[in-house]
Symmetry: none
Amino acid sequence: MTRERLYFYDTTLRDGQQTQGVQFSTPEKMQIAATLDALGVDYIEGGWPGANPTDSEFFDAKPQMDATFTAFGMTKRAGRSAENDDVLAAVINAGTAAVCLVGKTHDFHVDKALGITLAENTDNIARSIEYLVAQGREALFDAEHFFDGYKSNPEYALEAVLAAYMAGARWVVLCDTNGGTLPHEIYAITKAVIAAGIPGDHLGIHTHNDTENAVAGSLAAVDAGARQVQGTLNGLGERCGNANLTTLIPTLLLKQPYASRFETGISQDALKDLVRASRQLDDILNRVPFRQAPYVGASAFAHKAGLHASAILKDPSTYEHIDPAVVGNARIIPMSNQAGQSNLRRRLAEAGLEVAPGDPALARILDLIKAREAEGYTYDSAQASFELLARVELGQIPQFFEVKRYKVTVERRKNKYNKMISLSEAVVVVKVDGEKKLSVSESLDEHGSDRGPVNALSTALAKDLGRYSEAIGDMHLVDFKVRITQGGTEAVTRVIIDSEDGQGRRWSTVGVSPNIVDASFEALLDAINWKLLREYHAVGAG
Amino acid sequence: MTRERLYFYDTTLRDGQQTQGVQFSTPEKMQIAATLDALGVDYIEGGWPGANPTDSEFFDAKPQMDATFTAFGMTKRAGRSAENDDVLAAVINAGTAAVCLVGKTHDFHVDKALGITLAENTDNIARSIEYLVAQGREALFDAEHFFDGYKSNPEYALEAVLAAYMAGARWVVLCDTNGGTLPHEIYAITKAVIAAGIPGDHLGIHTHNDTENAVAGSLAAVDAGARQVQGTLNGLGERCGNANLTTLIPTLLLKQPYASRFETGISQDALKDLVRASRQLDDILNRVPFRQAPYVGASAFAHKAGLHASAILKDPSTYEHIDPAVVGNARIIPMSNQAGQSNLRRRLAEAGLEVAPGDPALARILDLIKAREAEGYTYDSAQASFELLARVELGQIPQFFEVKRYKVTVERRKNKYNKMISLSEAVVVVKVDGEKKLSVSESLDEHGSDRGPVNALSTALAKDLGRYSEAIGDMHLVDFKVRITQGGTEAVTRVIIDSEDGQGRRWSTVGVSPNIVDASFEALLDAINWKLLREYHAVGAG
């Protein structure tokens, strides 16, 4: 049996960026696009060239990808030709293989928001799409508010999308812009569009999660015949978010009738990186990953002790709808297992630590990690801290120095010019090679402004570590992330520090404490110890 | 036209408690039950009497409610009579009006988990339900793994649920225990059950969110004819959670065809407390409320500047699927450097600030926001700081108090037991009503552990603000986010603080500085000033 081709269209970088508080930098966009491309989505929408400097910069950077790189814009305005529309020109000039233009299909919006006639609007759509095609671009038409438009004036809504299709649009994307349309309506209206003459393999679906039905609405459109699904990683997006591709991809690849019916650009092998892709986006956004996220959440396959857990031990399929490994996730049950140990050995090997299978240290390290994670630590990204913890347990770490105590002060007051200023000062007492050393540092940068207590501590600590001082001279802090998280029953602060050195190494360490200065200091100490290991013990890259 | 009755069944206290890390105390259960009862749900499932001490204690406390209080348990075991089954006896002894018993309907589980014959299992179901009815209880039967069971062996799955119905069960609840069944399957199978002889007004639906379809699956069952919907507040529950009543309730009350077809126990007036009910549960669980939650999330009606925001200004219905006030939520139009003057006026109006079009203050405020954003501030999420900034520019803010200086110290050293401990101490000097006040505070929580410098500063600041102290007494910090960002040419720290008060208000403020303590202090000051404005100037909800 021939499978039908189903296409995934990602809009994390455009509609996802509409989320409150989200603004990707160009390097972040590059990183996300590379992940989406490796996953195998068919289209990556990069943003709206010309709408803001960051989006333009990203298109100027011309990211390379196997996916069809797509620029977003809107149909030309009334009263000018497509050739003379400057907004459209900026989108064309981005030079992408595909262009997606949003346009109105709801009579109410044509009148209310644009203030033009329905005929003018239809003409704008047709002329804009024709222009894209004439420029040799793959043309997509995002039919804004399509479902509401269809409910208000079905004749006009159909006229508008047919105009786009007849003008040569490869895809007409039916958008539920408000997120208020329920799945059964999406099914019926998509069917009506197909009956009106746009074949399903030219129809896309774009939903929002305002009634928690974005995934179901997308599936309903696919059931009705649509063959392109739009969405974002982790369901990022304005208000309640867009359709969650992190859920839709495994559902359409693994669940029936879809699994047997469709061919997609995503391989079963790439699917194993789904959890990693989801976590990467959270890292970039400095968000706490949502534990209960379907398929990829840390709790998605966690079984609380009792009825379920004992059945799981007899046969995992009794309480799991899919095998968690298929999406790169893992089962959590109240009993440690072999899978945990082999995973751990792999991570240790990555840090240059070869440990034999069955070594009792493996169980001890697993227990320790579990206990630390319950306290709020995370070793997902803090690989350097993970390595140090394992080395302590394996007896493979020297004590380079010992911190006896520290004290840090931040003061804010008026200076002699009656201006409010702040000043941070740190005193650190360490013992190196049996010798006690006191160092003090304030925290003023070259402009005389105060860099704060963590900087003061870091400077004081680095000031005199005896014979180790030179080795850490080329180290500097490049990123500092802080999260409030759960540690046992209390809220604690988790600090993750990224450090770099003159040899281009970059490593991450973690500290946890209710006190943000303590947590930072702990991560700082790990960062220095990891660096000293590299300098004095010629261990691997980590 | 007579409306059909649709019933809501809440299992937050039982299935919701299956969530990793969740264990309600009896007073917490009391509080949640009271909220659910005030909302108007029909059934409140309190737990499993006899299964654990907390559940038993809650039933012993005999909470009073209008809803039908329901105890959960399981059908009797094989080889003994219902009268002699001790597990069943504990459930009966809880003395509730209704009892819900879970039982197997999937042949695979009967064999694998129970190790009995199908006929024995059917008999266990029938005898248990008959016994409940004989005891004068309203009987419910939770058909575990029903959908998987139906797919594996439809004859047996139907036999099992028919046995419960014929034995007198008021409700047969079809459970998708694994959460893997898709909505179209739930629809078809529910239809088949009705065709087999159980009327829809005796059928309930119980779904899980493992494919992000718990809400859609519940709606599909209702479409097929089921008239009882089970779920939890905020979708709490094992793995990816249960069906989210916080979403299902407004969808079924507000959306067509449901709104016209059904009568429920929940009034439009009670619906206005939905946001409050959702937040209360988060408070009890000490969780950060999910901003993107449908209907009740802080971002559910937040519109980012640009195309949408300008349309919203013309007519809110253009981009909103319901009026946010109906569920006790509010519209948010965040500020950003893309925003124009009309957007700004709308946002100001929402904060109770009416500014005429063309007022020169508008341009000044926009410039100020732009300049501050270049320094690293963001007003996208920090609405309260935005309001304060605008008020300063409009001359509409009183100076409640002035901070003259502060000093905070963090010390880490060994205590007399040779254990490393840390201690934070803050001194704050303020001027209130012409009077200078010095306050000092250390930062130890009830367990004697140090909560850090920001906590110490916050406590010292709140300690004596003269006549304002009382007004800020019910304020607390609920979230604290830190990012390193670019401020001009330097890296700076941006702190965003979310605060809440006893009246359910939640507001966000921002501070920026190279010094994390300074940045936190700035956000803290904004938070207090915003609260004082609300308390002393009767300004809008913001």
